[in-house]
Symmetry: C2
């Protein structure tokens, strides 16, 4: 098999941990597999370099930041290579450019346009284990190094796995897989063997944060089998994220996600005229505010009430935009003491009664649901923040996810 492995900053955070990663690769090589490993900078390095730049200015030029930040992954790729050489393995470390990762020229947050696998294929054919510096590429015309933004090494790995048609792309972090919910909230949470891309996307965006959404989306698009596992417990099988079709027994509910970083915006007595809601949400979208749950209900006197949630970080800019719409509504309030609990599962599509079980579970704990929003594979509920953990545990119990 051809395996693409990605090791994050914590997994390569010290010289000793890089040796540990070399041992993991050794084991996989000795099982007869070909390996392309993608590595992040040693943990702390990227932040250190950002601090260096900020000694001079709060707004360094993006093209210079890319020159600066791309150095950390190069160091790790060389060190891991040296460790493997010493264990008797032939290796080739590669910068993003050498690995053929071609991007647009949007510095510090470039998008991968194309992967030229020529050099990697040649190196594999010559018996090399390839170690690629993650998080970076080069502009299509080859003129300048670029970086892919936070979490960019995951993208490097998934894109390479897709381009070179690897059998699997294993993402190593300090967490050994995807759990039915956050084990810090519900100790009975269980690790999932498999989960579909769509479920993972819902769980990630809802706060699970083991894998970044951009990488899961890319894995789905490129049909890459993604595995989330830990470099600290490499013998524990991780969680496979794959096509829904690959999952034979589709669970009704796969996991419970919690997102506390939401604010509920309530607009009351909005004039009920075509185009009003549209102009509000267009203004928010133009400001890059990611509006999540939206509910419109009939208010008094032919007006409507509009409820929606936004990320906490966007509160100030949202308030600024809302000043344009004060004439269209009687009152606007902001509630920070709410959270969003979501139930995710592909099996919902073909099962009834999933939602009512959730409502009952929360009602039994006297938790009032303020907004409900559903999609094909997800039910989200906005509740008071103080009930967050209680709600997660009640739902985890109700769907017997510990079984």
């Amino acid at each position: 098999m051809l395996k693409v492995l990605k090791f994050g900053g914590t997994s390569v955070g010290t010289l000793d941990r890089i040796q540990n990663v070399a041992n993991i690769i050794k084991k996989i090589k000795d099982e007869g597999h070909d390996v392309i490993a993608i590595v992040s900078a040693m943990s702390g390095e990227t932040n250190k370099l950002i601090e260096y730049a900020q000694y001079y200015t709060k707004t360094p030029e993006p093209k210079e930041m890319d020159m600066l930040l791309s150095s950390g992954e190069r160091v790790t790729s060389a060190l891991l290579s040296i460790a493997l050489n010493e264990m008797g393995y032939k290796t080739m470390s590669m910068s993003g450019r050498e690995a053929g990762i071609l991007t647009d020229s949007c510095h510090t947050k470039a998008r991968i346009e194309q992967i030229d696998t020529t050099k990697m294929k040649k190196a594999l054919n010559e018996g090399n284990t390839i170690i690629v510096a993650g998080f970076q590429g080069v502009t299509l015309d080859g003129s300048r190094v670029t970086t892919l933004g936070r979490g960019g090494s995951d993208l490097s790995a998934v894109a390479i796995a897709g381009a070179i048609k690897a059998d699997v792309c294993e993402i190593y972090t300090d967490v050994d897989g995807i759990y039915t919910t956050d084990p810090r909230i519900e100790p009975k949470a269980k690790k999932l063997d498999k989960i579909s891309y769509d479920e993972m996307l819902e769980l990630a965006s809802l706060g699970a944060k083991v894998l970044q959404n951009r990488s899961v989306e890319m894995a789905k698009k490129l049909n890459v089998n993604l595995v989330s596992r830990s470099s600290f417990t490499p013998d524990v099988e991780g969680t496979l994220i794959t096509n829904e079709e690959e999952i034979m027994e589709k669970p009704i509910v796969s996991g419970i996600a919690l997102d506390k970083n939401q604010i509920r915006v309530g607009m009351y007595g909005v004039i009920d005229k075509p185009g009003v809601a549209s102009s509000i949400f267009t203004a928010l979208a133009d400001a890059n505010i990611n509006v999540d749950v939206i509910v419109q209900t009939r208010g008094l006197d032919g007006t409507t009430d509009l409820d929606f949630t936004i990320p906490t970080t966007d509160l100030e800019i949202c308030k600024k935009i809302m000043t344009k719409f004060t004439e269209q509504s009687k009152n606007i309030d902001y509630n920070e003491s709410i959270c969003k609990v979501s139930i995710v599962g592909v099996g919902m599509k073909s099962n009834t009664g999933v939602a009512s079980k959730a409502f009952t579970a929360l009602a039994n704990e006297n938790i009032n649901i303020r907004i409900i929003s559903t999609s094909e594979i997800k039910i989200s509920m906005i509740i008071d923040e103080k009930y967050a953990e209680l709600a997660v545990r009640a739902l985890h119990d109700a769907y017997e996810l510990d079984k």
Copy 2:
């Protein structure tokens, strides 16, 4: 004017010192010059990375060391660029590859084959100050980053200055120029305004070590005006190293050099047959031992005595080679308690009595000269090491170098 400036590791050793370098560049830019700056890694960085590699092995693969070590200069070039941007200057940082530095593929000690100045010329035309990561290049086929060995950033600077026909190449260190002798030995030592390439080569190889010989040789070959000056006292003019023809008033003696890292090898009663001396020095050359002063004198019974000096570091390997020649000589001894004092000056060529003044000066101090060796612009004397500093001061005085 187009000025190439090179800043060594100490000059860019901290964020504050990088700011100081930015101030130096600002001043030169504001005088109306174009600037290409070549930078080393922040002091300590390269050694840190070497230590990292040695955590895994004492003999890391050279091609991986190049990937590892080339990262330090990239960091400095980006940081200096960011500092200059903040001061209002348009910059373009460049890796060795981007600056068009093409080398052979002899990793960790590559030689520059060619400089493709296309990108640098374009960037200059667009009004940029260029900041090049020193010490590194890329193989001619573009496949792999290379490094140029210790002192490689000086080579990058001189080669770029030659290729782009810069008016001057200023090498900034923590020393403000070339002195008539080591000021730690003779406090009356004076900074030289000008010195020829050949004199500098003799002074450098004899221990002055402000500039590496490889860079001075390259500057001579490419006819680059080299200036040695300090980034800590940028207002002090440095020393210009240039063609002999550019120096109007040729001093008889420019400087006194001292080299304590020499061992005298004495072979007594060597069979006086053609080819014996030749076979000895061929064997030493094959082992890369840099034999310096050689003197042959007539011994007893038709034999000869052979005296020569080698660097202290080559003692063990020299002894090993000498075992092959025990039958050709009566006795071989090694004297570590010697040193070499040299008088250097282009004016010697057209002046007589230079040597006798030296011999008198040493005789007045009761210093016995064991070997004498002369070239067109140099007189070297091997004396007992305990007289080293005394001899330097006596010679400095005799030639009135403090005047």
